[in-house]
Every structure is written in structure tokens, then in C-alpha cells.
Subunit: 462 residues, 2 copies
């Protein structure tokens, strides 16, 4: 049995790992376009700032690990063509081009950063000097080299996770940073606008300028970058933001040209559609990670995969199935997510409030403040929780948490409850472990559930 995996990131490497666990004898080969063994892309901003001392420390599955597990890892190798009728792929690597047969093929091709339509961003057919992407190790290394040598003043285009994590790193490197976001709030795909105040306040305090609802129209300056021309999407006012460096963190698009060529069905945004076995619509071909889409557990609509955790879950399922198993994803993903920025943890699970509205889901929400520790114990930190439940049956459908620490782990508790289809009554009765130096007797999650219960009871009475 021959299992070929295109892409050696977290998804691909995990697929290989679980294919091996499932089947001791299968031939497993990963084709990776870059020269790197699997490493953590999520760790790149911390290698930029220097918190992680070397980029090479980000490697998780080393070449030795692959060897030990008899998984062949072919680096600097791209896949050029797939013939699904002959079950063959054509690869090009350091030693030339050749065909490889497969029994199962796994797309773990990831995504590439979007390049927004900005005048003057290119020089010929590549980005001009001083304009960077920040998705893979080569890009991050190039950017860090440039920053250390030539940059004092950086514009970050995009206030998503990558943009803000880079902004934090650059701030720690004592660079002047301006973040420009096209949409109307920061972290727009992660949390609701009304949960961003605390983070915005801290960023403002430390001297990072944030411009939301703003479109970068043009890069100014020759031969060096001198700034960007920004237009407010609210009032149309134009403004020049000075900078010597630009980082593009305005989203990403899935890498799917091979999948398209071979006839896999794609979703509206171009992601490869898979079922709960991670199978594409072409027999024998699987897709996992950022190039794919699955189902949102709450809205039942498509969920574009964009988290390392989901890549790894899918890798496990696809790997086992490619090697002859029959494993299945949960019916939908909860999209549990977290980050820590400027000392604030921001965590969420389930759809944004705007997505719940779009999906026509009738919700009841609570928003409460609590503390990480009992009121009488010193050192507790404020936590804000926004919890949503179905107005019909009280089922928990989303939660967002912002606080100085330990918010991330609380979102896992809500994810567990959602996985079990539990309601706010269950959460109000959940035994959260209590000890004065660890957590309060009545946790903020309990309080948030009780607040919704009161609203639900009132609705029923009316």
C-alpha cells in the first residue's frame, strides 16, 4: 500500500504519523516544496521577536523522526500533475522529474497569503523590496533580516491573528508599528467587535496605531518605501502613513490548483470539500488542513479550515483512513481558537455573532465579568465572557473570552460542553474545580450560564 502526501506541514506530517500507526507496512511518502521538515507556522511571530531564539527551534517533526517512523520525506519537491485514472502523480525534485503511483493521495497543500490590490506593491512580477508576506519560514526569515537591518517603521496590513501577532513582535523589537484593517474591527474573523476594547486600549497605550475600516490604496516612495496612502472606508478621507516596510497579513487563499485539475469539488471560497472521513469527491484522494473546508458544528454551513488544531485532527483522520482505517471527524468543527497579545488572552469557540445572525439562528446572549480567582484571594485577573445559547432550547452555541490570563483553557471547557450538545443549564451545574489559589468557587462561566438561564425563563413566561 502506497500513501502519498502533498505538503509536509502540520496536517501532512500528522497524516503520515497516523497512517503509520494504523499500518506498519504501508509505504508513506511526503512531498514538501520547501527545504524544511515540518515546523510550527504558528510559532513564526515568536521567532521573529526572539522569544524563540532560532527559527530552527520551530521544527516539531524532525527528519530523524520521519526516518525513525519509516516515512519518506522528500524536501524541495513539488507535484506537477496528477492522473487520477492511473493513480499517478508527477513530481519534480532535486533529482529531476518522475512519476509515483499511489493507493491513497492526501492534499495537505495549505494556503498562501493574499496580496491585496495595492498600487505600487510589485516590482515586476514580485513584491517590491520592503514588502513582505509572513506565512512560511523563508518569508519570516527574510522579513526578520530586513527588519533588523533596514526597518524602523512598519505598516502591517491586516489585523487578523498573523497581523497582530507580527505587530506585537515588531513592538517588542522596538519598531514603530501601524496596523491597517480593511474591515470594521480587529481580529474580525476571531471575535465580535464588542470584545476588542481591552486589546485596542492596550495597543494604544503601548503606542501602536490601529486604523480600522481603512483601505491601503498605494505604496509611496522611490526607490525606498516612504509610506502608504490610506483611504477611510467611513468618510473617504485620505491619509499618508509613513513607513519603510510593509507586511501583508490580509488573509490567505487555499492552494488548490492540483485539486482543481484532478476534479475535486471546491467550495465558494475555493477550498477543497471533504466529508467526515476527510475524503474529497475524487475516489482515493483526501484533503486536510488549510486547503480544505468542512462543516461548522453550529450553523451546519461550510467551515473554512484555518487553525492548526483542525489541521491536526484532520491529519489524524485522513492518515488512518488512507491506511485502511475507518475513522471519522465529529459532525462539525467548533473552531476553538485563542491567542495572547500584549498580555491579553483572547479566546473563542463557535461562530461569530454576525455569522449566527446570517444563519438565522435565534440566540440569547449574556456578557459578564468575573475573576480568575476568588474575590478574597490576591492576584485575580478580570475575565470577560460573552456566551450565546439557542433561544429555542438553551444549547450553547458560542463563547468568547477576554482576560489577562487563563482565558484560553476556559474556552476548552465550553468546547467540551458544545461537543456534547449541552445547554446552559448543564453549564450552570458544571462542577468547575475550586481552590482559592487556582479558581473561584463560582466560575465566571457559571455566572454567564446563569445570566442566560434567567433570560430564557423570562422568555418562556412571556
Amino acid at each position: 500500500m502506497r500513501i502519498l502526501i502533498i505538503g509536509g506541514g502540520a496536517a501532512g506530517a500528522t497524516a503520515a504519523q497516523f497512517a503509520r500507526k494504523q499500518n506498519r507496512d504501508a509505504e508513506i511518502i511526503i512531498f514538501e516544496a520547501t527545504q524544511y521538515s515540518q515546523y510550527s507556522k504558528c510559532g513564526l511571530p515568536y521567532a521573529l521577536s526572539g522569544k524563540i531564539v532560532a527559527f530552527e527551534n520551530l521544527v516539531e517533526f524532525s527528519q530523524e523522526w520521519f526516518q525513525r517512523n519509516k516515512i519518506e520525506l522528500r524536501l524541495s519537491t513539488t507535484v506537477e500533475r496528477i492522473d487520477s485514472s492511473r493513480k499517478t502523480i508527477t513530481i519534480r525534485g532535486p533529482s529531476g522529474s518522475q512519476d509515483e503511483l499511489y493507493d491513497a493521495l492526501i492534499f495537505a497543500t495549505g494556503a498562501s497569503p493574499s496580496v491585496p490590490p495595492i498600487v505600487g506593491i510589485h516590482s515586476g512580477d514580485r513584491l517590491r523590496d520592503g514588502v513582505f508576506q509572513f506565512r512560511d519560514m523563508n518569508q519570516a526569515k527574510e522579513f526578520k533580516d530586513w527588519c533588523l537591518k533596514k526597518s524602523r517603521n512598519v505598516v502591517v496590513i491586516g489585523a487578523g491573528l498573523v497581523g497582530l501577532e507580527c505587530a506585537e513582535a515588531l513592538h517588542e523589537m522596538r519598531r514603530q508599528v501601524t496596523v491597517i484593517e480593511y474591515l470594521d474591527s480587529i481580529l474580525p474573523t476571531m471575535i465580535d467587535p464588542d470584545m476588542t476594547d481591552q486589546l485596542l486600549a492596550i495597543m494604544s497605550n503601548v503606542g501602536i496605531a490601529v486604523k480600522i475600516s481603512s483601505s491601503v490604496e498605494e505604496v509611496i516612495g522611490h526607490p525606498s518605501i516612504e509610506g502608504v496612502m490610506v483611504t477611510s472606508r467611513k468618510d473617504g478621507k485620505r491619509d499618508i502613513v509613513q513607513c519603510d516596510t510593509i507586511i501583508l497579513a490580509a488573509g490567505q487563499k487555499p492552494v488548490t490548483s492540483l485539486a482543481q485539475q484532478v476534479g475535486c469539488d471546491l467550495g465558494k471560497a475555493g477550498h477543497i470539500i471533504v466529508n467526515d472521513r476527510c475524503e474529497t469527491t475524487v475516489k482515493g484522494i483526501f484533503a486536510i488542513g488549510d486547503c480544505s473546508q468542512y462543516r461548522d458544528a453550529v450553523t451546519k454551513t461550510e467551515l473554512l479550515v484555518g487553525l492548526g488544531t483542525l489541521a491536526v485532527k484532520m491529519g489524524e483522520i485522513a492518515g488512518k483512513n488512507a491506511a485502511g482505517g475507518d475513522s471519522r471527524l465529529p459532525a462539525g468543527f467548533l473552531n476553538a481558537r485563542v491567542t495572547r497579545l500584549f498580555g491579553i488572552e483572547i479566546a473563542a469557540v463557535g461562530p461569530l455573532s454576525s455569522a449566527l445572525t446570517t444563519a438565522g439562528i435565534n440566540t440569547i446572549q449574556s456578557r459578564v465579568k468575573g475573576s480568575t480567582l476568588p474575590s478574597y484571594y490576591p492576584g485575580g485577573k478580570e475575565i470577560t465572557v460573552k456566551l450565546s445559547a439557542s433561544a429555542d432550547d438553551g444549547k450553547i452555541i458560542s463563547c468568547q473570552i477576554v482576560g489577562e490570563k487563563e482565558s484560553g483553557l476556559r474556552i476548552d471547557v465550553v468546547a467540551a460542553l458544545m461537543m456534547g450538545n449541552m445547554d446552559v443549564r448543564s453549564l450552570s451545574m458544571l462542577e468547575t474545580a475550586y481552590s482559592p489559589p487556582v479558581a473561584p468557587c463560582v466560575d465566571v462561566l457559571t455566572t454567564a450560564a446563569q445570566a442566560i438561564l434567567i433570560k430564557l425563563d423570562r422568555t418562556k413566561r412571556e
Copy 2:
């Protein structure tokens, strides 16, 4: 409607709070034997050490809070008799004795420390000077006064939560501490013996002597205490441990003389038996908190209530029901518990392994080590997880976690899964939120679940 509550601790005060939420007009009266408004008993060790600067800071529901919520709090008042046929109780307070009618009566009488049969522990009918209990504020204050003035060298009898939390406080006060435990491991009702090594090592490092399997036979010295005579339960060897002070932390017994008198059914260990509405077997009478027992969610056998969290859950249910509601506890308690001692967090949910064996539950266990953070990110701390699942269906039935920090919140995740009757397959697919500075992509809980899955699959194949 008249609701009388005997006992103004966490259980009683919470019952009053939720009775008021349920019913704006009910007359609600709490009779509390001590002179204190509700305070956190769990916080007493931290007021001993001085981490919490004053004992009075432990008050959570103040007298003003009760007034604001129109709940009458009668301090220094004891209940002497109950006549359930006339629905009357006889109280004795600062202004004498009188009868009070009730529609609903709630026992929240708590527990009192056990006094082990030790020769020379008493002077007349009270404990001799230098021997202390540590369950309520008066006892804790007396003990602290004595410690500050007269104590250099303390023997703590009992290595349960109270004993070890006091040992830590005394160590922080620079007292010499010896902990003596009758049973064969420390924290014997909290975690399995094989999860205590890390804590034992740290206690040894900081100079606290711990003697397990040891029985204190006699207090030595006159007029002052000079030591205790200890007999090893393993080899019968006798030994004198020098000390000037003794603290009794060898468990507790429920306060149930009134409940017995009125005919409430009691369990084997003397706790008041209640149903899922927190009703006793006597109509109109409820019981909550440490004086009561309910059902263990896993073994379905009796669970002796001994946690503040359970007291508060029961207070909520009993308070609502006493005031005319119809609320119910979950079918059983998970007994989620946590503490932090000497920088180590110890957390558990579900029965001890020994209790699972006694109950005849066939389990598969895993024991794995992980880190609070990804391997590539600096500052992660080791976490050890012991997870148990049913060998029949893979349902999660217990979990124990030991680690330097953030163990407590991970146990809440397992509690949530157990509340939803979920299995290790679900846990292996649980989306734990990931970000390098917050938590790893593959959490140690996931690894523990995967380890059991492999064993389960192997069992099936055999």
C-alpha cells in the same frame, strides 16, 4: 411563605440567595451559630499564612448583602429542636429562646473536625492547650494567635487537603512542620497514591517531614506539649516526633443531630440522604453541603459532600425548590477538585482508582506526560495526566492531573466531557484551543485519550 435555613456557610447563604431569586416575597431567615456572616472556609489556610491579610477579608456574603436582599441573618443563634409535625423549630439566640414556623427548612449544618483517639489530647472535656482544630474562623484565629506567640514546631495530624494546606501555610510562616497520616498516602481521598510523588519530593525538598501509614498514639509532655508518640502501621515501630503544637486535620463528621432527631434518613457515615431536589426523607426539609450525601456520577453509590463547589450547587437547587421552584441536581456528582500546594497544582475528577475497583468498574487507564506549552515555546511546565475510561464503552470515568500550573482548568474540561457522558474518542477529537504562548496544538489531554484508544482497540481485536 417562610424559609428557614440552619447554617450560614457557603451552602446556606447560596440557598438563601437563590430562594430570593426564585421568590421575591418569601420570608427567608438564616440561623448561624457563630458570630460571622458567610465567609470562605477554604480560604482559612491563606489567612493563616498571611497571603490573605486579614481573616475578615474572607467574608463573601456580608451582612449588608443579606440586608439588601431582605434575607434575615441571625448570628450567634443555635437551633435546639425541630417539630416537623407542627413545622416549628426552637431557636436560642442572644435574646433568648423562641419558636419559629417554617414552610421549608434547609439543613446547611456542615461538618465538624474529627478528634482521633489519642492519649493525652484532652484536658478535661476540651482539647489541651497547643492542640487545635482548623475548620472555622474562630479555630483558625486561635491557632494563628498561638502560632505567632508560642509555636516553633508543629505536628499536623492528617495529610488531606486541610492538613497539607495548613502545612504549607506553617512552612511559609517558617515553622518546622511534620505531617503524620494514618493512611498509606497523602491526599488519600483526593488522588491515587501513584500521583503523589512530585508533591512528596517538593515537600521533602523544602524540609517538611511526612510520615504516612503512621498512627499518633499519645501526646507527650507536661505542662507543655513536647512531642507525639507515633507508631508505624507497617512495622509497629514507635517513634517520638518533637513538637510544641498539634493541629488535628484528620477528617470531619457531618453535623446531623437535629436531622436525626427529626427522622431524616442518614447514610452509612452519618450524612443526610437527599434526592436530586435536595430533599431529605422528611417532607419540607432539605439538606445541602457537608452535612449531606448524594450520588456519585460514576459508581452510582453514595457521595459524601465535602467540596465548596458542591455545597454551592446544592444551595442553588435547594434554595429554588424551597421557594417553590422545581430544579434538579445532575444525576450524580463528579467531585471535581483541585488544590495548589508548594507551587504544584493537583486536580482530579471522578472516583479514585481504588473506588473504581471496589465498585467493580472495569477500566482502562493511561498515564502520560505533556507540557503546558508547545515544545518549541519557552516556559512550558510539565503536566502528568492519569485518565481512566470504561473498558466496555470508552466512557471517561476519572482523571487526575499534577503539574506546576494550569492543571486545575484542564480538569474542568474533563468534568465537562464527563457531564456529557462522552468517551475517549470524543476527547481525542476535542478542539482544545491552541496558540504558542497559551497551550500546545496537541494537548496532553488529547494524548491521554489517544493512549487509551490504542489500548481499547487492542482489547477489541483480542
